[in-house]
Point group: D2
Chain length 294, copies 4
Amino acid sequence: MRRLGIHSFVWTNGQTQDGLEMALEKSSEHGYRMIEFAYLRPELFDLDRLAKKAQDLDVEIVVTMGLPADADVSSEDKSAVEKGTALLANAVKAVRDIGGVRLGGILFSMHGKYDTMPTRDGWMNSAGAIAATADVAKDCGVQIVLEVVNRFESNLLNTTAQGLKFIEDTGRDDVFLHLDTFHMNIEEADPAGAIRMACDRVAYFHFNENYRGYLGTGTINFPPIFDALVDINYTSDIVFESFSSKIVDESLSRVCGIWRDTWDDNNPLAAHARTFIEQKWAEAVRRREVNAQS
Amino acid sequence: MRRLGIHSFVWTNGQTQDGLEMALEKSSEHGYRMIEFAYLRPELFDLDRLAKKAQDLDVEIVVTMGLPADADVSSEDKSAVEKGTALLANAVKAVRDIGGVRLGGILFSMHGKYDTMPTRDGWMNSAGAIAATADVAKDCGVQIVLEVVNRFESNLLNTTAQGLKFIEDTGRDDVFLHLDTFHMNIEEADPAGAIRMACDRVAYFHFNENYRGYLGTGTINFPPIFDALVDINYTSDIVFESFSSKIVDESLSRVCGIWRDTWDDNNPLAAHARTFIEQKWAEAVRRREVNAQS
Amino acid sequence: MRRLGIHSFVWTNGQTQDGLEMALEKSSEHGYRMIEFAYLRPELFDLDRLAKKAQDLDVEIVVTMGLPADADVSSEDKSAVEKGTALLANAVKAVRDIGGVRLGGILFSMHGKYDTMPTRDGWMNSAGAIAATADVAKDCGVQIVLEVVNRFESNLLNTTAQGLKFIEDTGRDDVFLHLDTFHMNIEEADPAGAIRMACDRVAYFHFNENYRGYLGTGTINFPPIFDALVDINYTSDIVFESFSSKIVDESLSRVCGIWRDTWDDNNPLAAHARTFIEQKWAEAVRRREVNAQS
Amino acid sequence: MRRLGIHSFVWTNGQTQDGLEMALEKSSEHGYRMIEFAYLRPELFDLDRLAKKAQDLDVEIVVTMGLPADADVSSEDKSAVEKGTALLANAVKAVRDIGGVRLGGILFSMHGKYDTMPTRDGWMNSAGAIAATADVAKDCGVQIVLEVVNRFESNLLNTTAQGLKFIEDTGRDDVFLHLDTFHMNIEEADPAGAIRMACDRVAYFHFNENYRGYLGTGTINFPPIFDALVDINYTSDIVFESFSSKIVDESLSRVCGIWRDTWDDNNPLAAHARTFIEQKWAEAVRRREVNAQS
């Protein structure tokens, strides 16, 4: 792995300049070298100051988001597709302006619970919109990653195989997958197998427990997932994500169904997650070495 | 376990008399002795004939459902609570009329994606409505079970611990939990531990793979779940549930986010599930015996 | 997989003509199409008659064995190495005479608990002896497979990586590995990873529970092992092995430490194992298909 | 858990005064507060000095051992039983003299590979010898724990159930079990279930990987084992054990079949194990809390 990061909602609901600055500082203090901001609204913040602070702390920024219903690029309604495409272009530019390295999330559809089946035309509209976004991103030096999410947060890309097919349909070689253990736990038959299948198409990875609490306290079988990342020689970034009703963001908490306190204190949570990921990664590396030793 | 059953949506979308009769026959042919009908609309069917057919085949009937938004008993709106309470009373009577043994599902709230936090008043309204429903059910000889579901299908009861607390708050000793491995996989830190904690409060159990396909092909670690059921001396019914976009029910498929074909042919699916559950149950029983043998 | 087989010690202690014939019949009755005879002593049996019976039942024969201390080809004592080499040549011929397809087991060392470290000279002596054996086997149309076993049953080849290195040192491309889940559970850091590493060098595979009882009742995590076999497109044979003090063979039970009754009745054991292996194999195949489906 | 300890063979082969003193210091440096000495030979050491050093460092001492063949208290030969009983009494006194808290290991039989079945008379002889040993231990203020080991290291007590029955047959309430994940992985159908069954009869616990290397790099499914220890409210000591051919003790390495380098450097090994055990313990405690939270 390249950099180990943490989602800003571990620290703040993300809607104030002070909140984001504090999140950068806390991440750095805890030894994380990347932070994920969600649903960044450039109009609310002094982006230059955030960019400067991030650089000073050597903490890189990733931004993630999902589309609203009226800007759903997987819609069959052209005006929604156009609106979404414009929204994505602006988001890419905001990432550039904040000095960020990557735009991720549910860029290919609405973020939320659909009540209709996806359509072939919607899929193609979305692929076109993502291709256009990738063009903008190329100029901005921003990487585009698509988050494969569970059935309740999108109807379009729920599995890695769908994500790979979708990227193929964009015709781009600079669009990548963003995988997340919470979503994989709901959708993949074999998360480790999915990672091996995705191989160098994965460029961003979220560690999340099944119920979004402390890593290692739930049902996800993490060792084979670390093994798969080691097997594909994963060299991009890993980010820890956890949500609790302790920190509520209107845009994200509700769409993600965060109704419970899964933790109260974010400091031990962040400390634990870093040790967890680093130790499990080292165990996976060693497991490969031991297995190969004759 | 007492009876092994199967969800009717393995066989039919459930909206015709012929469909339900065929489902009863297929279930019986495959050796299942219980069937679950979802969102039964008594006005559409000849209940007597279904009851007679079920009895002839020695296949018991369970009905499950969730509430619509305008009849949400966990609402703070009294008229919705009243409407939901009446709806539940009618549902209980329909179960009685069809000769069913049990009413289950999301009886305590809307079935669907909330976008607000649950409230204390809503919780108490719901507990009151369920207490009233249990009264009706007692007279009708119908058992009430509450399905603990994932965060995207209700905001009220997402964990076994919440379910137990809720039952306590109804003040009833004849209301039980309905647990389901699909939902537990998203919400419980330790599904087997939750089963042990629930103990004789569980009266209905769904086996479901993480992505709702063939059992044993996904991520759920089933052996400890069977162990826990054996440990608590579980003597009630077990039902196999699986959804595919192959069979679409408007009421259920969309709320459950069934966007993918997880199987095409329901016959091998049903045969496999029966062998899977019976074999894993026998393995758990034997594991206890071997462990205790000195 | 090609053929599914069963170890003869599920049926008999193996030391009479009648016992082996009964074992062939029972295996066939239970739907197994391969049988493993261990420590076959050709002088005790009518090999032609066994060969004829096996052919009539369409049950193929595999023979496995380990070397005695005084014929240990991994010894530094040349006379032991010579004695072992001759013994192996005779064993190969007996396999040919019984119409068997394969000779496996601990052919490369004593079968038993060593109390000294292996040596480099012993390793090379053993590799030479196996190369010589492979020459005889080629002429006899018998396949040679080397069983990687736990530290208490040999000191030479305890891991797949060691087995692969050893085969390389024999200079043969017709010597293969014989892997077994019981042994892998004690020695491999990652059994599934070891199978992937061995790839087309594995030509024989034993399914065994951790304590040698009923499959699925112990601690071995079988699904990833089936996944790995499916991933490497394993096309050779799979054999079920289980030992109980109910059936005692002087040569094998004691060296394997079979002190407990892990089962009393071999009929349900054999029926269970066949269903277990076939169902888990089918689940692994389906898991790959589901994971790849876009 | 009370104290977290480490086996002295992580540091030294144990046969010199300097080696044991260094081991005490290294254990303390790495934050361990208990050390296990194996096969302590009191005649070789200045016990007072070791006791003093341990006390100064606040590192408690446990001694473990197994019986030699000619002092096997599970023999049917009375002279061997007598010899073993005397040997155990002396060992208890040595533990007292070194200021140790506990004598554990294979006190009830030979430590090694048997080639005969255990006998009823041998079992009773052993129970008598352990009862006598417990009497001596009571006077000495030393706790007796019996290590349940795999089939290749004893033929008498291979499972927790056997251990519990054996303790019952000693007629003592001050003899306890010493469980070890390496051995359980070979013998128990359900290690976590075995711990729950043993409950307050377990007074000493070894964490060990399946192949005796770094914790978390092998096949043992540790979380349910920690869950079980938390469930039984385990309040005694936990010790980390790992063997590599890097550090060879003639008495132990050979009987345990340590033929491979599973690690070269013991410092990162010890640091990793402490973090592993403390983090997994905390995760298990939290898992219980989360599961119970309503």
